[in-house]
């Protein structure tokens, strides 16, 4: 059947099978030369596509054990983050790291070693994984942790499913007193101000900035930053105090059909970005206010199928990170280039990362990460190659969970530990690698 990632580009005809229990895996391994595990299909590009065999992990969604004293959870890899939140927030527990959507699986969060708005303080999701079980090419199941199969563990964090099939994981949830975040909005008039704001916000557990990717000249890099911290029970206003751990408010919008691509043009996107900026300035004047974690962390989940906004042909999200010293010049050059192309996106996101973690192929490193969406249309490929050029020149790299088109040599330059990764993977999996995706084929991984 035709399968794609969240960006809906590329779409490939893949044989899709569901793994229902771990005992069935060796049979599936026998019936195919290569395969890739797929969680909930929220990586944007071609990471979870393999025409030969794409293995859906969504039916592997059992929770195995929870320790209500330490918060340690043991669950299968197909458990959705949304499911975790629904189960544990009412009991006062929250995952240590959450990405921008709750519609991802635990296995997907590990394979992409996802980050959240708290990366500068808490690192990636993988940093909180205590151990995981991984099925290898021989069907044997290995326990991997910092003590046992440590190299394989480090290769699997951010390893995009290429080291084997992640079957389950153990990690600790954190206690929260309420489901609300005290959030504050700040507007910055240009890139210098935006970056200064990030520096000044280091003590906030969560921070992220929406950036106006069409502003040029003096306003280049103008942004609206949101920062926040989970609230304690005593700090809640009376209206919320009666049910401090309440679930997410209902109500959802849905994009009913593919937007006609003519809708996305310089005028409409410029208007959208300008409106966002003005709304942000208004909010900044209003001061800090409590918002439910669901809106704070997952604002786009409220718009079901928002990927249709970019039209039938899909879109590509370009996300890169630049080392801190080069960030100011690099981000400016990237924004300049994107704005000049006129292909700007609804969503430009900037965030300051903390130091890189242990995952050999993990994306984050200390510096700024920028994410921009571009609809797939003529001219996009050249623009994206141009952005790659800039990222490369400033010593940065792109995020594989978003990527659909990067060139192999660019990848090698960006990920210095790639050689170590391949060595560990080859030793564990053998050659030729059994766990392969369209992404690994395209990037010659």
């Amino acid at each position: 059947m035709m399968l794609a990632g969240w960006g809906r580009y590329p779409a490939l005809d893949c044989r899709l099978e569901r793994l229902r229990r771990r005992e069935d895996l060796s049979g599936l391994l026998h019936r195919s030369t290569t395969l890739i595990a797929r969680g909930n299909g929220r990586s944007y590009g071609d990471a979870a596509l393999n025409p030969e065999l794409t293995l859906s992990m969504r039916a592997m969604d059992r929770m195995r054990a929870f320790d209500a004293v330490t918060g340690r959870l043991d669950c299968e890899a197909g458990v959705l983050l949304a499911d975790l939140l629904e189960t544990f927030v009412p009991r006062g527990w929250f995952p240590p790291v959450v990405p921008g959507t709750r519609l991802v699986t635990v296995g997907g969060m590990i394979a992409a070693d996802v980050h959240g708005k708290n990366h500068h303080r808490d690192g990636t999701f993988g940093a909180h994984v205590e151990s995981l079980t991984l099925a290898g090419a021989d069907g044997a199941i290995r326990e991997c942790s910092r003590e046992e199969n440590a190299d394989l563990f480090r290769a699997t964090l951010g390893g995009m499913g290429l080291t084997g099939v992640i079957l389950s994981a153990r990690f600790r949830l954190r206690p929260v007193e309420t489901a609300f975040v005290m959030a504050e909005t700040r507007a910055a008039r240009d890139l210098d101000e935006t970056m200064a704001l990030f520096e000044a916000s280091r003590d906030w557990p969560h921070s992220v900035a929406w950036i106006d990717c069409l502003a040029r000249g003096a306003g280049l890099g103008r942004a609206v930053m949101t920062r926040g911290a989970f609230m304690e029970r005593g700090a809640l206003p009376p209206g919320l105090a009666s049910n401090p751990l309440r679930p997410a408010p209902a109500g959802k919008l849905r994009v009913p059909a593919d937007a006609p691509s003519a809708l996305l043009n310089r005028v409409s996107i410029g208007l959208f970005n300008a409106l966002c900026y003005r709304r942000g300035r208004r909010r900044a004047r209003a001061g800090a206010r409590p918002i439910h974690f669901d809106r704070f962390f997952f604002p786009l989940d409220r718009i079901e199928a928002w990927n249709r906004l970019y039209g039938r042909r899909g879109f590509v999200q370009y996300q890169c990170v630049l080392p801190k010293g080069d960030s100011a010049a690099g981000v400016a050059a990237l924004l300049e280039r994107a704005a000049a192309s006129g292909q700007g996106s609804f969503l430009g996101v900037l965030k300051l990362f903390g130091p890189a973690g242990e995952g050999l192929m993990s994306f984050p490193m200390e510096g700024y990460t920028l994410a921009l969406d571009f609809p797939v249309r003529s001219g996009a490929a050249a623009l994206l190659d141009g952005l790659d050029e800039i990222t490369h020149r400033h010593g940065g790299r792109v995020y594989l969970a978003k990527d659909a088109r990067c060139a192999p040599e660019r990848l090698r330059e960006g990920y210095p530990r790639l050689g170590a990764f391949e060595a560990v993977r080859d030793e564990a999996v053998g050659a030729p690698p059994r766990f392969a995706s369209e992404l690994s084929r395209r990037l010659a991984l």
Partner: protein, 248 residues
């Protein structure tokens, strides 16, 4: 609260529908007794339910293909449940059942003999106690025998008739019997089949319908309403005509 229903037994709890029903009942506040054939799979579901609901869950081995039809399960239940749901079933392979008597017998025993004996044994105890709800998951395939799956269908027809009779017998005792004919359901049993979306329910829909039918006792339910008129028409078609369309 859930109207005095405290303990619920789900037989066939490792099937997709069984799992969904167990979750819905747990959410409803029931203490759960899960019964299934394979101990490892049962353990997996039991642990999952315990973590998610923090509720009490016990696991019970039960195989309707055993000598006694799995009825010894009843001796392991403490207390006797207020609600018992039987989800046991197996579609089998019609072509194989036609050729191979043993295969056909397995389908018949799994869909009719076993579930009927279990429901009958539970009914004895419910009647003695003077209350309880028995829920049997039967099938629209039991309404008429179709060439494409009549071995399965005939067994379900038997089960439907058994439940119907049981309902009449228990009517005076305070115990109640619900027959569920879910229509198509998106499960492991139907994996890979091309099912019409409007007629196909999710296991969660089946579970919600079962819980609703327990609270406001109903006799026979289809999960998706569209099935009622469809089956009404299908039952009315003369055999002479049905014979020609029954390969569908």
């Amino acid at each position: 609260m859930n109207g005095g229903i405290e303990t619920a037994l789900v037989i066939g709890a490792t099937s997709d529908i069984g799992r969904a029903i167990a979750h819905a009942l747990a959410e409803d506040g029931c203490v759960l007794q899960l019964a299934a054939r394979d101990p490892a799979r049962l353990e997996r579901e039991t642990r999952d339910l315990r973590v998610r609901t923090r509720g009490a869950v016990t696991a019970h081995r039960c195989d309707v293909l055993d000598e006694d039809g799995g009825v010894s399960l009843l001796d392991t239940l403490d207390p006797l449940p207020d609600v018992a749901v039987c989800v046991v079933g197996r579609l089998g392979d019609q072509a194989k059942s036609q050729r191979d008597g043993a295969a056909a017998e397995r389908v018949m025993r799994t869909n009719y003999v076993g579930p009927a004996l279990l429901m009958g044994a539970l009914a004895e105890r419910f009647e003695r106690r003077g209350g309880g709800v028995l829920v049997g998951i039967s099938s629209v395939a039991g309404e008429r025998g179709r060439a494409s799956n009549y071995v399965y269908g005939s067994a379900k027809a038997g089960f439907t008739a058994f439940l119907s009779g049981l309902r009449g017998r228990l009517a005076a005792s305070g115990a109640h019997v619900v027959t569920v004919k879910p229509g198509f359901v998106r499960t492991r049993m139907t994996d890979g089949m091309d099912l019409p979306a409007r007629l196909t329910a999710t296991p969660e829909e089946v579970a919600a319908a079962v819980v609703a039918a327990i609270h406001r006792p109903r006799d026979v339910i289809y999960v998706r309403r569209v099935w009622r008129p469809i089956m009404f028409v299908l039952r009315a078609v003369p055999e002479r005509v049905f014979k020609r369309m029954s390969r569908l």
